[in-house]
């Protein structure tokens, strides 16, 4: 058997952090090889070692049987290694075409021959069925398309070994399906794929082999046919993990907490708007919003939070109309908790410590103040409580928030937002990019809150997640609601159709009214 990649005893330490501490991996040529591990296990570090961004402290790497020494990313690209980074590496101000060609401009040494490149790219697009507007500004594209662009970058460079670092974290189910199709096409064309993910279902679906990494060391490599999700989860975390959500049986829901009537918001983003939205959430109810990213979910949430001018319709919160009452001050109400979709940009201040992030948004809470001043003791007590209750792994409250892994950052945010038992919880992509241990924890937490009569607005790309957590779902398409109902009222196909713009039948609509 030929190996596309062999890694033995790879080590990379950052100071005291042993990010990679002896990784062994053998990837068969022409296979799809998954790598899984908890947050902070060392997956991304491994990838960076393989693409010339880091140079390993120890260990050997063989590429197609030949020893590999990388001095720079350029080296890796020349040797046929293509990487899709966990955090996109795109120039947002450039067009799609420019992003693809950057660094691999068509032949001429000096002149930038865009049009020549365009033809070549169009060929590739056709071959792999990847549709994209080459002249669109990258920053304006939804994440799904940005990822498609990242893939095109790799294909254009003619990579033999392609490494995807958590490619599906930001994709919708449809996008994931077509992504898997791309992977299969790539394999057919002779590529070898390394695929990093937190989603075991995807591992089972698309890969041939899987390597588990824990604490910087590889635990083992398994043929996919010999394992199942439960085993993998156990290997990853070192204990059994509950993979299925067990929704508790709920009684009747309470009072209406949030009501949107004929809501129309244009907002300031050219890309998105919402129109004629009618939704209600009651105490103890979880409403899940389903839709392909970029169909107005963001603006919907932001409108509820009061970031936008309401063009038409009303928002009722706790029985009060809050139209255009700048809810920037919603924090003062203390009754809303919000888990934003992008934890680094919308949920945390990267330059602050864990402690200072632990009360972000609650800085005006009387319970944290001593007269006019923030009380160090009160703040600290609260932070300690959050950290302990939510099992956030930190070395020290005063350490930088960036020294936490993504999963732990997410836990801190959740702990912070739910601390005061808010009556309304807005959770946007609450599990994006976090490992299964953390997912389990987040689900448990949300369900607990719901059992205690909190109303929850859940927005997520994870169809499974929404269906299993929600009491009621609404499908959004181009800013309008296509249908509302209980999760079990729809088949997956129906949901898929609604996500693509088909209105639900009369039946289901009536159903909503009677609930």
């Amino acid at each position: 058997m030929n190996y596309a990649l062999e890694v033995t005893g790879l080590k990379k330490h950052f100071g005291i952090v042993k990010a990679n501490d002896g990784v062994d991996i053998k990837v068969k040529e022409g296979s799809v090889h998954a790598i899984i591990g908890e947050n902070g296990a060392g997956k991304t570090t491994l990838v960076r070692n393989l693409c010339g961004l880091y140079s390993p402290d120890e260990g050997d790497i063989y590429l197609f049987g030949k020893p590999l020494q990388l001095k720079s990313p350029q080296d890796a690209i020349q040797k046929g290694i293509g990487i899709l980074h966990q955090h996109f590496m795109l120039v947002e101000a450039f067009t799609v075409l420019e992003n693809i060609l950057l660094g691999a401009e068509p032949d001429s040494k000096i002149l930038f021959r865009k049009e020549k490149g365009r033809k070549e790219i169009q060929e590739i697009c056709k071959q792999y069925n990847l549709e994209i507007d080459l002249d669109a500004k990258t920053g304006d594209l939804p994440v799904g398309l940005q990822q498609r662009l990242e893939i095109l970058k790799i294909l254009y460079r003619g990579a033999k070994l392609i490494i995807f670092d958590e490619p599906t974290a930001v994709l919708t189910p449809q996008e994931i399906d077509s992504f898997f199709q791309i992977i299969r096409d790539l394999v057919k064309n002779g590529c070898t794929i390394i695929f990093i993910t937190h989603k075991l279902k995807e591992v089972m679906e698309v890969s041939d082999e899987v390597t588990v990494i824990r604490d910087g060391k590889s635990v083992g490599t398994y043929c996919i046919k010999e394992v199942d999700e439960r085993i993998l989860a156990n290997r990853m975390v070192g204990r059994d993990v509950i993979l299925q959500v067990e929704k508790p049986v709920k009684g009747a829901f309470g009072e209406t907490v949030l009501e949107l009537q004929n809501l129309k918001v244009t907002g300031n983003k050219t890309q998105q708007r919402i129109n004629n939205i009618n939704l209600t959430i009651r105490e103890g109810e979880i409403l899940g919003i389903i839709g392909i990213a970029g169909n107005g979910q963001e603006i919907l949430v932001e409108s509820v939070l009061g970031f936008h001018h309401i063009d038409y319709g009303t928002i009722n919160l706790f029985g009060q109309e809050i139209n255009n009452k700048s809810t920037v001050n919603y924090r003062k109400r203390r009754d809303i908790g919000c888990i934003p979709s992008d934890r680094l940009k919308e949920g945390l201040v990267q330059d602050f410590s864990v402690l200072d992030n632990s009360y972000l948004g609650f800085q005006h809470e009387p319970s944290l103040l001593n007269k006019l001043f923030l009380s160090k003791n009160k703040v600290k007590k609260r932070a300690e409580e959050i950290v302990e209750k939510n099992n956030v792994k930190i070395s020290n409250l005063s350490s930088s928030i960036m020294s936490l892994s993504g999963g732990n950052q997410q836990k801190l945010i959740i702990g912070r937002e739910l601390y005061d038992n808010p009556k309304l919880i807005i959770a946007v992509q609450p599990t994006r990019g976090v490992d299964i241990g953390a997912i389990e924890f987040i689900y448990k937490n949300l369900l607990e809150r719901s059992a205690e009569k909190a109303a929850i607005l859940l927005v997520s790309n994870e169809l499974e997640e929404v269906l299993s957590l929600s009491d009621k779902i609404a499908v959004i398409f181009r800013g309008e609601i296509m249908g509302v109902g209980k999760p079990e009222d729809f088949t997956k196909e129906q949901i898929g159709l609604m996500m693509a713009g088909e209105k639900a039948g009369e039946e289901t609509v009536r159903h909503e009214k009677s609930v």
């Binding site: 080296d75 020349q78 980074h85 120039v91 992003n99 950057l102 660094g103 401009e105 002149l111």
Partner: protein, 305 residues
């Protein structure tokens, strides 16, 4: 009152705008490479000084221009090293360059010419002169056009071509926007950063040369009189593009030219003088919306994130 458009207004506009757009172009190369440079004024001043000194000793204004470019290069290396290698705050480095240039030029004037005010007169670069005098209207404009103005316009066009039509230009722009992306694609980010900053500073030096040996034949202390800051503003006004910087400078130069030519009014001088600055503000209010510079400009970049 004068006409709003006449050959002499055009000549004046070009003369005021030339040091601005050359320097704005220099600022743009800095920022496109991700480095803020508020030291443009100091670099201009150094360029003005060096070109005058070189021109004085060699009797060649051409060598003077080379000298200005070289001093720009040297200060560029300094600025780049401090900002890129030592990862110091870009603004700090720029402010230091301004203070350094202001004091060192006077210091050297004293050392070299035993006079803190100005150099002796030196050879100048000169204007196009008689060649095109026969052309009506345009003749006057061309007659008074400095070779450096022409060089400046050529550089603006060349820079436009470079940034938008060459591979290196594409890469330079990517470095200012997202160096991590550029790096992941195998682009030698630091090379482009150094290149952009050094080339940009050389241009600022050239902008300074226009003041001392382009339009005049002497260096006087602090002769930039804040033009480096106006150039910085012109760069932003021009949305970080070469042609934009040119147009912004021409606009500013034009309003200034009109103000200068509007002589003998009975309004207090100070109020008349404010016109170009206020006019610029008004144009900004009405014709300008949310321009954003290269998104990584001003931030530190390090290999190991």
């Amino acid at each position: 009152m004068s006409n709003f458009i006449s050959p002499s207004i055009v000549v004046l506009t070009l003369s005021i705008a030339t040091p601005l757009f050359i320097t704005a172009l220099g600022g743009l190369f800095n920022e496109r490479a991700g480095i803020v440079n508020v030291g443009l004024d100091g670099i201009m001043l150094s360029g003005a000084f060096t070109s005058a000194v070189v021109s004085y000793y060699t009797n060649s204004a051409f060598l003077g221009v080379i000298g200005a470019i070289v001093i720009g290069l040297i200060l560029g290396v300094l600025h780049a090293f401090v900002c890129i290698k030592l990862q110091a705050d870009h603004v700090v480095s720029g402010v230091a360059i301004n203070i350094l240039a202001g004091s060192v030029t006077v210091f050297l004037l004293q050392m070299i010419f035993n006079n803190k005010g100005q150099t002796p007169t030196v050879s100048t670069i000169g204007n196009l002169g008689k060649t095109f005098d026969s052309i009506p209207l345009l003749g006057t404009i061309l007659h008074n056009m400095s070779y450096l103005t022409i060089l400046g316009i050529i550089l603006v066009i060349a820079s436009h071509f470079f940034l938008y039509y060459t591979n290196a230009g594409l890469r330079l722009r990517s470095v200012g926007e997202n160096p991590y992306a550029a790096q992941s694609l195998g682009i030698n980010v630091k090379l482009y950063m150094y290149g952009g900053v050094i080339a940009g500073c050389a241009l600022a030096g050239l902008g300074g040369a226009y003041l001392s040996i382009g339009m005049l034949n002497v260096f006087t202390k602090n002769m930039t009189a804040g033009r480096g800051f106006i150039a910085l503003a012109a760069m932003i006004f021009g949305r970080w593009t070469p042609l934009g910087g040119l147009l912004a400078s021409l606009f500013f130069g034009y309003v200034m030219a009109i103000q200068i030519s509007t002589q003998g009014l009975s309004i207090p001088a100070q109020l008349v003088e404010s016109i170009p600055y206020i006019a610029t503000l008004i144009v900004l209010v009405f014709a300008y919306k949310n321009a954003k510079g290269p998104s990584h400009t001003g931030k530190a970049f390090s290999n190991e994130e």
